[in-house]
């Protein structure tokens, strides 16, 4: 072995306990990788000094791409020369995060030769993260990924790598094919993902039902959340079976309904579906008895983000219901209008949610040609500070009369 593995008395404390130990993982990689050995040394120093030792980014990448590689440099390059450059590569994950053992081994083989041997499965946006390599290795890694058909994800002010829940592949609640939609949008917007040209990042997340397992309503600029328009499918015998097995149908299900649109008399469960809010609670509680309706699609919401810059936002309703069928033209047309407007008018580092707050949802809707409807607000305004774009002058009314 050509390199030393440093002593790490503080980090060693994190090899104890029952949760998987990332320190053990770094040590395992450090047996072969001098980069990972230096990472251990630098991290131990951070633990001692209570501060990180990474410099602010740096622009690196592979030819033809403007994103997907995050430059990272140690601020202690003399002490830890093997991580003086320690860049991250974001690899676009397959939809639903499914892999074969063969595909994972191929990625490991590339990363053993060209990187630290450390990964994140997965990063917050959804990409497979290869953690730590040098600038020289970026092109060889890309050409080898190319050979096994894995491409790079997004970073910077671009469309970020879309992600989705497992949807119809393994969930009875999926109201549309999330993996198909995620893959389709990813393929349709390769240029927008690989060449940053927006005011800031733009994320799509596809959840198959209102349980929202990919947290799209909190984390996606456009949240596509499965729902249905018709009645919840019910199997009364299965409801009675839950009751017979001890479920308190009134306490556990009926009383938890936010719309108070259910009743149970010990024999039959009734739902006033016109008042159902599609919250999923009753379906979650009794998956054998209740299922989403058959007329399925998605609600499109827009604008969620974390606090930076102007405060955190949740996505809000843009289209209450849309059928989710390829090629998803209706949604993509809206996306094109939104991107055009935001690219022209958005400020640097202004997410679409903040942009809408600044210009007002009403004005935004007008610009993208969508009619305002009550589904878009939790309540109408409670202040009288209303803008009107025109006012009447003396004589206007008679002119209008004459035109008629």
């Amino acid at each position: 072995m050509a390199h030393n593995i440093p002593k790490t008395p503080l980090l060693d404390e994190l090899e104890k306990g029952k949760w998987p130990s990332f320190v053990r993982e770094i040590k395992d990689a450090a047996k072969k990788s001098p980069m990972s050995a230096d990472l251990l040394g630098q991290l131990e120093r951070s633990y001692r000094e209570k501060i990180g030792h990474w410099k602010h980014g740096g622009i690196v990448g592979v030819m033809g791409y403007g994103g997907g590689v995050i430059g990272r440099y140690s601020d202690l390059p003399e002490e830890f020369p093997n991580i003086s450059a320690f860049h991250t590569m974001r690899i676009n994950q397959p939809a639903g995060w499914y892999y074969t053992s063969q595909a994972l081994r191929q990625i490991c083989d590339i990363w053993e030769v060209h990187g630290s041997g450390l990964t994140n499965l997965h990063g917050s946006t959804g990409d497979l993260i290869l953690l730590g390599t040098t600038t020289d290795n970026l092109e060889p890694i890309f050409s080898k990924l190319n050979a096994i058909d894995f491409d790079i994800g997004g970073s910077g002010s671009d469309m970020r790598t879309p992600s989705c829940c497992c949807g119809m592949s393994r969930c009875e609640w999926a109201c549309y094919d999330t993996m198909a939609a995620c893959h389709d949008f990813t393929m349709s917007f390769q240029d927008e993902m690989h060449r940053p040209a927006f005011p800031y990042k733009f994320k799509f997340k596809f959840s198959g039902c209102p349980n929202d397992c990919v947290a799209s309503i909190a984390r996606a600029d456009m949240s596509v959340i499965g729902t249905w328009r018709d009645s919840i499918q019910m199997d009364q015998n299965a409801v009675r079976e839950y009751a017979a097995k001890g479920m308190d149908i009134n306490g556990d299900v009926v009383n938890n309904c936010p719309a108070k649109c259910m009743s149970w008399d010990g024999k039959e469960l009734k739902i006033a579906n016109e008042y159902c809010r599609r919250c999923m609670h009753c379906i979650n509680a009794m998956p054998k008895a209740l299922r989403p309706g058959k007329d399925r699609g998605a609600t499109i919401l827009i604008g969620s983000k974390a606090p930076i810059v102007e405060g955190a936002l949740l996505s809000s309703v843009l289209i209450p219901f849309v059928k989710m069928e390829p090629p998803y033209k209706e949604i993509k047309d809206v996306v094109a209008k939104i991107w055009d407007l935001w690219s022209d008018e958005g400020k640097n580092r202004e997410r679409i949610g903040e942009f809408i707050q600044r210009m007002g949802l009403g004005n935004f809707l007008e610009e993208i040609g969508i009619e305002p409807i009550p589904e878009m607000v939790s309540a109408p305004r409670d202040n009288p500070y209303i803008f009107y774009e025109e006012y009447f002058e003396e004589g206007d009314e008679t002119e209008e009369e004459e035109e008629k």
Partner: protein, 360 residues
């Protein structure tokens, strides 16, 4: 070389997921009828065709070496035809069509140090960020705090003894790569000292109008220092968001004496029952105390246990607090309510108590 450029293949996107789906999933795609939780960490999905798919979920730890990935691959080959997946919370899932393989797989995973669980009324794995392992703006470590918190709460991952789901997330600064702002419990690294402006580097590295514009509280303004353009920070207006540092590396906020952790509660993402909610401030500051962060693990355990003891079935942290009211929450958890808890950013007035609905 010119040929290489011409022939370069780009923008081919990720491999199509259909290459990675096990046959049982291909055959039953969109035909799943219902599922049951067989035991903690194990689900069976039943198809309209009668086919049964067994999912075994284990914690991965998120930061994984290629040695470990190869071991996962071996397990997938041995027990489920070489197919596996990962979840949105960094768990690994093995997808089995043979029920008899469930127990031996669990035994091997546990022997490898990967607890099985995280399904149903449990704490699933903590979604988290990079921390000191790989980030320049981290106010705390991520993997280390997560490891300590989950070591402490492991029983709530491997068993389903909670009233409802509990989701914990950690972000090591306000950028929130982990988007923790809608979690039952959010652990958030915070700075508490305004940026230190390095005037010699500002002029070389930063666009001054961008730096001024980056500040949400208008605390940054252009100045001339020693004849060179630079910026100054009105310190009393700074709330340490570090957005300026993101656009200008010459304004670092990282500071061992003042960086630490804040704890937020009551957020949720799911639409089930209550609408999605943001997490709200429970504890403004806890110190960074590596390697085991005892103040943080104690605080999180206290929150989990007070909620678990008092919440009704299905009630998430935020739903429970909404029912009992915030004064009771602070009383029951023994947490101190301070000036820092009262919002003073935009729309702050909406969080003032505007009724006499009080408990005594």
């Amino acid at each position: 070389m010119a040929d290489a450029v011409v022939q370069r293949r780009t923008d081919y996107g990720p491999p199509h997921y259909s290459k990675f789906l096990p046959p049982i999933i291909k055959e039953n795609y969109g035909k799943w009828k219902y599922h049951e939780i067989m035991r903690p960490g194990v689900m069976v999905h039943v198809s309209e065709s009668g086919a049964q798919l067994f999912t075994v979920r284990a914690s991965s730890g998120r930061l994984i070496s290629i040695g470990k990935i190869r071991k996962y691959a071996d397990l997938a080959d041995k027990y489920c035809g070489g197919y596996l997946r990962f979840t949105s919370r960094h768990n690994i899932e093995f997808l089995l069509s043979k029920k008899e393989n469930v127990d031996p797989l669990i035994k091997e995973l546990e022997a490898m140090g990967h607890p099985v669980g995280g399904i149903g009324n449990a704490i699933s794995a903590i979604v988290h960020t990079q921390g000191w392992v790989h980030c320049h703006s981290a106010a705390t470590d991520a993997s280390g705090v997560v490891k300590c918190v989950m070591d402490d709460l492991i029983e709530y991952f491997t068993e389903t003894k909670l009233p409802g789901k509990l989701r914990i997330a950690l972000a090591c600064c306000l950028n929130m790569c982990g988007a923790v702002h809608c979690s039952d419990i959010a652990i958030l690294g915070i700075h508490r000292r305004p940026p230190r402006v390095d005037h010699t580097r500002v002029v070389k590295m930063c666009e001054i109008p961008n730096v001024s514009a980056s500040c949400p509280t208008a605390a940054i303004r252009p100045v001339t220092v020693d004849g060179h353009p630079s910026v100054e920070v009105l310190e009393e207006r700074c709330m340490y968001c570090a957005n300026c540092y993101t656009v200008c590396p010459a304004m670092p906020l990282n500071d061992p004496l003042n960086d630490g952790v804040s704890i937020w509660v009551g957020g949720k993402v799911s639409n089930a029952r209550h609408e999605p909610m943001f997490s709200k401030l429970a504890i403004p500051f806890l110190p960074n105390n590596p390697p085991r962060w005892p103040e943080v693990t104690d605080a999180v355990r206290n929150l989990v246990e007070v909620w678990a003891k008092n919440a009704r079935k299905y009630e998430r942290m935020g739903e429970w607090i909404e029912r009992i009211g915030w004064p009771k929450f602070f009383k029951m958890t023994g947490l101190e309510f301070r000036k820092e808890h009262i919002d003073d950013f935009k729309h702050a007035g909406l969080t003032y108590k505007r009724s006499t609905h009080l408990t005594f």
